[in-house]
């Protein structure tokens, strides 16, 4: 018997009433599949479209133009930072979150023919959708760097905190994404709910404005939207802004992120058992 990598596979799987004893081990064993899914989706996306990877640049650039125009009309102050950079720093996390959430929510349905035919840890599907979007974020970050160089904006020491906020936005996207993926697989209604939520989220998040435009007493309540802490954090660390996000906002973002991941996994595992039958 050819023992190919047998050492790593010598384990016993017990499946009982939809519970596998090796749920988390399996997830770890299949970790490379996460990379393959992300790789595949990136390849396909850019093979099928005419301007390919350019879309990762065009979409945030267009969004930025709209917001800059909006701020001009509304007469919102931006301080000493160039308007373009100021808006773009917020667009990076927002664009990532909205795309990741939409893609992750639809991911199980998109992958349904795979899910109903082969076994692999299903949790990988929405997580891979988020990972694919991460590629876009890297590209937009490069574009941001180019813009900053053009406008001669030099980031300060605060830039070293940026990875923390990246982790936060990725974590929250994964948590909300797996929850919505499970909900969409079970109730197709969520296909219509998600775009609506994303649309509302844009106005509830400080993309076109800042937290400081919100009255003082509403700020904590407003920070219940985890994106508030995240977006403010992005802006602060990139632009070495003078207004660091309040500890409360960051803490709230962090705990809501952890909570969303916990709830997401809990609900996903419940739906997962009957997935091949309902999808």
């Amino acid at each position: 018997m050819p023992q190919v990598d047998a050492g790593s596979w010598e384990y016993e799987i017990v499946l009982q009433r939809g519970e596998s004893t090796t749920y988390w081990t399996d997830l770890w064993r299949y970790r490379e599949l996460l990379f393959f899914f992300a790789w595949r989706d990136t390849l396909i996306r850019y093979k099928q479209t005419a301007i390919g990877i350019g879309w990762a640049l065009v979409r945030p650039a267009a969004a930025m133009a709209v917001f800059v125009g909006f701020r001009k009309i509304a007469g919102l102050p931006s301080g000493q930072v160039p308007e373009v950079v100021f808006v773009f720093a917020a667009i990076v996390p927002w664009q990532f979150f909205s795309t990741a959430l939409t893609e992750a929510a639809n991911s199980l349905v998109t992958y349904s023919n795979l899910v109903s035919k082969v076994y692999f840890p299903r949790l990988l599907v929405p997580v891979a959708a988020v990972a694919t979007t991460l590629v876009d974020m890297v590209i937009t970050l490069v574009l941001l760097a180019v813009l900053m160089a053009w406008y001669r904006v030099v980031p300060g020491w605060q830039i070293i905190v940026l990875p923390l906020f990246v982790v936060l936005v990725v974590g929250f996207s994964i948590g909300a994404g797996i929850l919505l993926a499970a909900l969409t697989a079970k109730y197709r209604d969520f296909r219509y709910v998600v775009p609506f939520v994303v649309q509302c989220g844009l106005f509830l998040s400080p993309v076109a404005f800042t937290l400081s435009s919100i009255p003082e007493r509403w700020r904590t309540l407003y920070s219940l939207n985890p994106l508030v802490g995240i977006i403010e954090g992005f802006r602060w660390s990139i632009l070495s802004g003078d207004a660091p996000p309040s500890d409360a906002a960051v803490l709230l973002s962090g705990s809501i992120t952890l909570f969303s991941i916990a709830v997401g996994i809990w609900y996903f595992r419940r739906v997962e058992r009957s997935l091949a039958d309902v999808i």
């Binding site: 016993e12 009982q16 082969v118």
Partner: protein, 454 residues
């Protein structure tokens, strides 16, 4: 190894019938909201809550247990819908069992769905990596076997071509090559699902044989009983989701399975029990294939006997749209023909009457070949409504034709083909013979003296 590689204990799989059918396939949020509102309202007004889960259950599998040691080859047989594929799906972890426990000691590879996860836009090489990863290979493993897979699939020059430009044959070869190179301890083969031509299926079987020969464990679903007998070390016969026979004496199990199958063929009568198909216009009550003595067939029948399809029904409204009849299928479930009481000009239709009526239709003698046939009841209101629809779970009966194909001394065994009509040929003389009467008489006498001598 002391412990079995695959062990299945009391596994069952339950489906809710109402929920996964047709348009109601997806659970819509509005249903959940509606039932929540309704039950909430009932609680408010103090009515007792009704049981929400009233949708009928269906056990596709129940109480299935077996164990398979290393190197064992298990053949799973049974009729369509007996639960064979569901069992494999549970072991392949695609779907979960509703009860019971499955223990697997090793990786499971399945030849159930070759090519799953292939993307047409990606090149052959890219798809090898992707498909391999989906099937559970690591990147290192795929890289090592990459050249073998390409060689096996015979696609070396097209490795950088998107698979959407592949021919079907190339596509299938590539897909199979990836699956066949997966090193796993357990292999699952469902031949009834295997798409592709005979050559491809043969390749599947060949690969399976190699697998078994190398001492790995194989689970094999097939209708090909010869292959099961040849390859399997044990057999499991499923019937309506339950284990009917299981053991190491594969031959005995197959024989027993075949015997009961022919028993079922004797079910040449369907009687409406429990008042099903209660329809305001007509209710079918009896559907049978009878011989000339008005008795349902009780076994194979000769092809030169008269056969009648008999339908009895309770007519409650004289609706001219009412159609009663049957569809005839062969052993492979291929539809041969359909016949209705309204097939001819209107003045020749059988007169309908209120009450219990009987419709009879004689099948032509010596039309069908030897073999097993199935009749399904057709009952409908023309262009308006199906009461029973052939091919959609309609009442069905079976009969078998054996022998009596022809009176010809030349036609002694069954010929190929679905139909075997014994038609009479006629001769027309187009030109009289060139030979004179004298020579013909001479030839005749030579011929008869020859035959006398021999």
């Amino acid at each position: 190894m002391s412990k079995p590689i695959v062990s299945v204990e009391g596994v069952g799989k339950r489906y809710h019938i109402g929920r996964s059918k047709g348009a109601q396939r997806y659970l819509a949020l509005r249903d959940v909201v509606a039932s929540a509102v309704a039950s909430g309202w009932n609680t408010v007004i103090g009515r007792r809550r009704r049981c929400v889960s009233s949708s009928p259950e269906f056990w596709a599998l129940r109480d299935v247990s077996f164990a398979l040691d290393e190197g064992g080859v298990l053949g799973i047989i049974g009729r369509n819908g007996a639960g064979k594929s569901t069992l494999l799906k549970i072991i392949a972890r695609v779907t979960d069992a509703s009860e019971g426990c499955v223990r697997l000691r090793g990786r499971v590879a399945s030849l159930l769905e070759v090519g799953t996860g292939f993307h047409p836009e990606l090149t052959g090489g890219e798809n090898i990596f992707l498909n391999g990863a989906i099937l559970g290979m690591t990147r290192r493993e795929i890289r090592r076997k990459f050249n073998d897979i390409v060689a096996f699939a015979e696609i070396d020059q097209f490795i950088d071509t998107p698979v959407k430009r592949y021919s079907t044959g190339m596509y299938m070869r590539l897909a199979f090559a990836v699956a066949a190179h997966l090193d796993s301890e357990i292999l699952i083969v469902d031949e009834t699902l295997a798409v592709g031509d005979a050559k491809f299926q043969k390749k599947c079987l060949g690969r399976m044989g190699e697998f078994a020969a190398s001492g790995r464990t194989v689970l094999f679903v097939s209708h090909n009983l010869n292959a099961v007998e040849r390859m399997c070390t044990q057999a499991l016969c499923l019937e309506s989701g339950r284990v009917r026979l299981h053991g190491r004496n594969v031959r005995a199990i197959i024989t027993e399975y075949l015997r009961t199958q022919t028993d079922d063929a004797a079910a040449s009568v369907w009687v409406n029990q429990g008042g099903a198909l209660d329809h305001p216009v007509v209710q079918p009550l009896y559907f049978a294939i009878e011989n000339e003595d008005d008795e349902p067939l009780d076994g194979p029948v000769r092809n030169d006997r008269r056969l009648f399809v008999v339908i009895r029904a309770d007519v409650r409204q004289l609706d001219p749209a009412m159609c009663l009849g049957f569809s005839l299928y062969d052993d492979d479930s291929q539809l041969l023909l359909s016949s209705l009481n309204t097939d001819v000009a209107e003045e020749h239709w059988p007169q309908l009457e209120y009450g219990l009526i009987e419709l009879r239709c004689e099948l032509p003698r010596r039309l069908l070949n030897e073999g097993l046939y199935r009749l399904e009841l057709h009952c409908s209101l023309h262009c308006r409504e199906w009461i029973t629809r052939p091919g959609y779970g309609s009442p069905s009966i079976q009969f078998e034709i054996r022998g009596g194909l022809s009176d010809s001394p030349y036609w002694v065994q069954a010929r190929d083909g679905i139909l075997a009509p014994a038609w009479r040929w006629k001769r027309r003389l187009l030109q009289p013979s060139r030979f004179s009467d004298h020579r013909r008489r001479l030839q005749h006498s030579i011929a008869s003296s020859n035959s006398l001598r021999s």
